[in-house]
Point group: C2
Chain length 249, copies 2
DNA sequence: CAAAATTTGTCCGTATGTATC
DNA sequence: AGATACATACGGACAAATTTT
């Protein structure tokens, strides 16, 4: 059960690409660069680091996948936004791969989202103010309007949950919320697991806002649970379901 | 090689590497491969996908960074373990980059860990049984023994928190716990932010186990809070601290 | 508008290191 | 130890995208 830290059996020659990767990271750290700051060009990195262009490029691509670096074709290489894009891509792939047997991965994801929001009930309500109330109420109104017309409201839904977390001033929580939501939004349509009734979902969001406005912590937690309950029920009901017609060519 | 179809305006030709990346992912999905299953060799992928080695290699490196693919030098390419290694690397880098100004990133990380464990108090206690009690108590005993000798116990600490989450049967929660813990363990030593007193930490873990054994949900949540409180206090106290002597050459 | 300069993207050929039989 | 299969690394050439002149 060793954690994923150095493994040094027979001191093996470190791979060239790995060396370059680490040195680029050090370059950013030691120069205290910020997202958007320019990095040396490929050829400059080749000279500085004494590596071929192939090695440098592969290293840059790895860092690009982690959003530590951002590459713009014909323009240059820059420090990345350090987002959780890699988490989204990894979890999305995992969910799609496990989908054939069951929907366990997706259900686990929903559980985590629920734990985060329920566990943060007290601080969320503590920081709940009028401005936030108005913004959330407006989003819910949009949801209800769209639901009545038989339309969906993915954008409003995402904004709602992010806005709920915003006042906590914890960027990691906000980004995790967004990341988990993104995975869900990407995977669910591919499962053809039609979402719950839109009106029901809109009503659940309204209940969350109202509980928060009442400063009712247990009520808020219950409203969160009620919001996720139909999703979890639906996923658990589809366990074992297989759609052999997907993915298409 | 002139394009007989002049691509006009917004529809930009997708990059070769991106195409290859997607097709390798599709290859895994459509063939329902599992972690450890072998993938075609580089040259085979070049033929199948009609791309050069460079493009294939860069694509494979990206997938390797996400642990969707695993490359063993001189052996072959295989489906990866789909771990959260990319999350660990990304968060670690972010924490080290933000360290110059403050310890906000690390503090946010600790908050998330706390929310997860506190929010899961009820299900954890619901699934708490004798075997788990013995395992956790044994770990705590080791901690106390090591603390008395003035030693640390990172391995026992990591195992403790993973064991706490184990019975929930939610792999995502378990992996997130491990990932967050890893980031913390990697970053903290680099900050020279000396950890709290080992005996105090061991005692906090014992309090958690005892509350769980009593089936005392609020007591468990309080014990979790008491466990993280000194860490958060310490991080907040160091806000703005800068150690110009790091990193070394 | 057009050409040039800069930078990343792609391809090829070759040589080397590594693991397995 | 040798042979084979595979990934790693290098260098050069040209294509594509972007900005500047």
């Amino acid at each position: 059960m060793a954690s994923n830290v150095p493994e040094q059996s027979p001191a093996r020659a470190p791979l060239r690409r790995q060396e370059v990767t680490e040195r680029i990271k050090s370059l950013i750290l030691q120069n205290r660069l910020a997202p958007g700051d320019p990095l040396p060009t490929e050829s400059e990195l080749c000279e500085t680091l004494g590596a071929s262009r192939s090695s440098v490029r592969e290293a840059v691509k790895v860092l690009s996948a982690l959003d530590i670096v951002e590459v713009r074709h014909g323009h240059g290489t820059y420090v990345g936004r350090l987002s959780l894009a890699a988490l989204v891509e990894g979890l999305t792939f995992r969910a799609m791969l496990s989908r054939h047997d069951d929907f366990a991965t997706l259900a686990e994801l929903v559980e985590v989202r629920q734990v985060l929001e329920r566990g943060l009930a007290a601080p969320i309500i503590g920081a709940f103010d009028d401005g936030q109330h108005r913004s959330l109420a407006a989003l819910v109104a949009e949801m209800e309007e769209l639901a009545e017309r038989g339309e969906t409201f993915v954008e409003q839904d995402r904004a709602f949950h992010l806005l709920l977390m915003g006042p906590l001033h914890n960027r990691l929580i906000t980004q995790l919320t967004g990341a988990f939501w993104d995975v869900h939004a990407i995977v669910v349509p591919m499962l053809e697991a039609s979402v719950a009734d839109a009106r029901e979902t809109a009503a659940a969001h309204r209940a969350i806002v109202e509980a928060a406005a009442r400063k009712d912590v247990p009520g808020f937690a219950d409203a969160i649970a009620a919001h996720y309950a139909p999703v979890l029920k639906h996923l658990n009901a589809k366990m074992g379901t297989v759609d052999p017609s997907w993915p298409p060519a």
